[in-house]
Symmetry: C2
Subunit: 177 residues, 2 copies
Amino acid sequence: MDAATCLLMEGGPTAVTVDAVVARSGVAKSTMYRHWATRDELVAAMFTHLVPSFEVPAEGLGFEDSLRALVGSVVQHMSGEQFRKTVPALLMLKTRHQEIAEVEEQLHAQQQSVFDEVFRRGEVEGRVPATVDRELLLTLLVGPLMMAMMFESVPLGDELVERTVAQFLAGLAVASE
Amino acid sequence: MDAATCLLMEGGPTAVTVDAVVARSGVAKSTMYRHWATRDELVAAMFTHLVPSFEVPAEGLGFEDSLRALVGSVVQHMSGEQFRKTVPALLMLKTRHQEIAEVEEQLHAQQQSVFDEVFRRGEVEGRVPATVDRELLLTLLVGPLMMAMMFESVPLGDELVERTVAQFLAGLAVASE
DNA sequence: ACAGTACGAGACGGTACCGTACTGTTTATG
DNA sequence: CATAAACAGTACGGTACCGTCTCGTACTGT
């Protein structure tokens, strides 16, 4: 599994061949096929193994602090080599392989649920309207971070976090008028 | 070239093989290698051929109208099958192939310059501070659209355009205080 | 001691693909 | 009209990969 992940980061999905994984891991090919019936299953399992999980910020925090903490941890994940090199592959493969799409859906659902909790805290404080679509909110909030990561045009740092959160909050204020 | 594009959209970058392009296009393999010395050159040329160009909104429009028009046209591009199926591949390949990275850079530069013109109109109207990094602005503005396209969690429609632009403008107002 | 199981190592057939070489045919150009 | 360039078609060697298969080995529970 680790060998497969290394190969994915070095050469992309096409570099994750059965032979290459066997060569790098020291595992026999027969053992590989004992666990995964086909190469596609191996690749899907690899992405499942890679999916990170975001954590809900501490209970006591208010809406804005929760938001900053969560966005900060997302940016930290995005700064990691593993995230940066695997997410583009995941997003490309999900358009064609249903198994990969399901893995991506799982990642997305986990992310959505964590942000939903933060949005709920905002709703309690009267900052987030109850009627707004939460998926839209997630998109508006995380989109800039995603773009910064994919295009590498803006450094993934504190300034980006601050500006992104500030813009999101400003957008919320306008929307609830 | 058209055949290669079809193959890319159907089966991803790995489906764009020399043999497949030859079979679909009716062109001889010798002719292919007369134009592109290697398969990688063909793929790079294909992406170059695919790069769309955004247009600057009409001269007379004010800042907000220009913004809405441009964001609307971006969303329209993103709704197209061609964009949706090729951009993920482009973003994945650019992390490993320098030729592809240059194509992506070209796309990004073109997009940036068009938006810069709109930001300039905003600066004239006193809505956009002159000191803010324009790449950051582009990221904050287009990021949500990119995310909506890649994750397909929010429909690419007028509502998204409206909310995205509204949030961006609200963020601008806060930043210039 | 013995059967059952998971494993390492690797050979093998079959396929897909790349890039080259060669043969005619069409097209353009002086 | 002659000659060169561009082309279609195709065969070929070499390589990489997938998935199957066999064989020998270590470990485990009875």
